[in-house]
């Protein structure tokens, strides 16, 4: 027997120690007898219920707990059952409000000790409940942010299998989230992009940087596709480990339509600027044809001269026609917006040809020291041509007294860098960072829309490249265009 091991003094010490222990633990402990009277309580209970030891110990449970709790929780019945069966009741929830204090939530357990004694253990979980509700509220808020976004927002595991798919993704793709859950994201991408998308996910595993791109998302229900601008970002856990990928996508249809209109109107402006040079250049071959035709009308010419005149007429008509063809190509090309493999050098040369006339009129020498004949980029050749055309025309306009327009192309790692330098007036300090802003213009009112370089900027951005300017006032300017190489 344990009792016999202790003398009276020891027993008192022992009780004291246990009372101290019971009073220290942050839970409420009540001892209850089989008549459901309280035998003893610890300090925690008295503090929480705002009661004293005197008006608690010896009283029936029904006088210690408010009747509303006893009715709602059926705690008395549970205690009686525990006395009968001798089996404990674990982890029940109870909300309790003592007079004058805010409502609190408890977990309680009923633990039988002997046939006529059991322990009611109550743990205050008010704070935990509040926190978990807070967490749920934040989660609900986040979920509604994701769901309300008009952009596609999806998450995948590290291999690129879809985990979440928001309403915008459902709406735009026509596929609901359980149809795509667990499927590889690339399965829903344009066929010739699947490999590229797979590579992006591979790259995400070891990268901490986002990846921006554009491609079509399939809409299988109407067997079509829509062009989306995508941003892939690696998703990290608390330890910085990549655990998946977050993909945000924006429908480009509306923006593309506006851009198309803007680019087209800007192009017409450029055509206006080029008109002078073109007039000069077409009238030369026309003048040759006109005179040669008149020679042919003369009766006395030799057969040899006859042939010569015919040849001159033919080549000069072709010359005029080529100028017109280039012009048409430039005017129409923006209707074509599909990204394709483009030889940047060919685009540059074609564009230079278009401005040669204008440059000649202004006594501007064009230098193009070209080592490579073939540098491939992914792009829309018409749009790239528009960018170069804009930059060339700006350079030409900056040199009203003539000068040199030099164009260099170099490749560096996976990029190609095109530098277009003029020897013109240059860009004043303070305007260098404004030149790509819409409606920023140094031209007199009515002579420039100020949209040219901002359109260049948007086109180059669409090609995942960058455009910058360097200049010293009075010493010319250099525009540097960088594009990813294929």
């Amino acid at each position: 027997m344990i009792h016999s091991l202790f003398n009276h003094q020891d027993k008192n010490n022992f009780e004291l120690l246990y009372n101290m222990l019971l009073d220290t633990i942050p839970s409420s402990v009540l001892m209850i007898d089989e008549k459901l009277h309280v035998i003893s309580v610890n300090r925690n209970f008295l503090v929480k219920s705002q009661r004293s030891n005197a008006n608690t110990v010896g009283l029936p449970l029904s006088e210690v707990f408010p009747s509303v709790i006893l009715e709602n929780t059926g705690i008395e019945e549970r205690i009686r059952n525990a006395f009968r069966s001798g089996t404990p009741v674990n982890g029940q929830k109870m909300t309790y409000r003592a007079p004058g204090v805010p409502i609190r939530t408890y977990y309680y357990s009923i633990l039988p000790i002997s046939p006529n004694q059991l322990m009611l253990l109550m743990e205050d979980i008010t704070e935990q409940v509040r926190l978990s509700e807070e967490v749920r509220r934040v989660e609900r808020h986040l979920a509604s942010v994701v769901e309300s976004a008009s952009d596609i927002l999806l998450s995948t595991d590290i291999e690129g299998r879809i985990l979440t798919w928001n309403s915008a993704a459902e709406k735009l793709s026509g596929l609901n989230s359980h149809e795509v859950h667990g499927q590889y994201f690339f399965e829903f991408c344009d066929t010739n992009q699947k490999q590229a998308v797979r590579l992006i996910f591979m790259r995400m595993k070891h990268s901490s940087e986002s990846h921006t791109t554009e491609f079509h998302l399939l809409t299988p229900k109407n067997s079509g596709s829509i062009l989306i601008s995508w941003v892939f970002s690696p998703m990290k856990d608390d330890y910085g480990q990549t655990v998946g990928t977050v993909v945000v996508g924006r429908d480009l249809a509306e923006r593309r339509k506006l851009e198309l209109q803007l680019r087209q109107s800007q192009k017409l402006t450029a055509l206006g600027v080029m008109a002078g040079g073109i007039a000069h250049e077409i009238r030369n071959p026309l003048a040759v044809c006109c005179s040669a035709a008149q020679f042919l009308l003369e009766d006395t010419i030799t057969a040899e001269f006859h042939k010569e005149c015919s040849r001159k007429i033919q080549t000069n008509i072709q010359k005029a026609s080529a100028i017109i063809e280039n012009l048409l190509r430039f005017a129409r090309s923006s209707l074509d917006t599909e990204m394709a493999e483009v030889n940047l050098i060919a685009v540059l040369k074609e564009t230079i040809e278009l401005v040669t006339n204008q440059a000649k009129v202004q006594k501007i020498q064009i230098l193009l020291p070209m080592q490579k004949t073939h540098i491939l980029v992914s792009g829309v050749s018409g749009l790239l041509q528009q960018v170069f055309m804009n930059v060339f025309l700006n350079a030409i306009n900056a040199m009203p007294e003539g000068g040199v327009l030099s164009i260099s192309v170099e490749t560096f790692e996976d990029r190609v860098i095109v530098r277009i330098a003029d020897t013109g007036v240059g860009i004043p300090v303070g305007q260098l960072d404004k030149i790509f802003d819409p409606f920023h213009t140094s031209s007199p009112v009515g002579q420039g829309t100020g949209l040219g370089l901002s359109i260049c900027y948007s086109i180059i951005q669409q090609h995942l490249g960058s455009i910058q300017a360097e200049s010293r006032y009075g010493e010319g300017a250099t525009i540097i265009i960088t594009l990813p190489r294929l």
Binding site: N284, C289, S291, F295, K363
Partner: protein, 121 residues
């Protein structure tokens, strides 16, 4: 008119055309393909007429005409031939008023129009 006629145009076919028209009249022709070349030839020879393109790769046609107009002796008559300007172009009218050029011929022209320029003195 025994002195030759200078034809200045960077486009060889244009020189070919003008040469033929003038040679058909039994006149002697010399061609220059740039402003520099034209100025050099003007300094080293005497010409009765200059048919001058307005836009040359190295300088403006009117600049060549201005230099020719400063010549003290044997100053030639200069006709500006251009597809860039039009006949009532302020630049052209100005040059005529200043006496730098004596006439303007818009490209394309008829052979007769060009010959009229020669006989218009």
């Amino acid at each position: 008119m025994n002195r030759p006629i200078l034809i200045v145009d960077d486009e060889p076919d244009m020189c070919w055309v003008i040469s033929h028209i003038i040679q058909s009249q039994g006149l002697h022709v010399i061609t220059a393909y740039s402003g520099e070349d034209a100025c050099f030839k003007l300094m080293h020879g005497e010409f009765s007429f200059v048919f001058l393109d307005a836009k040359l790769p190295d300088m403006d046609g009117l600049e060549v005409a201005r230099r020719a107009s400063t010549m003290v002796q044997g100053r030639p008559r200069v006709v500006l031939v251009s597809g860039y300007h039009y006949y009532d172009d302020p630049v052209v009218r100005h040059a005529i008023a200043e006496g730098i050029i004596c006439g303007f011929l818009a490209k394309p022209f008829t052979n007769k129009e060009l010959l009229n320029m020669l006989n218009n003195d």
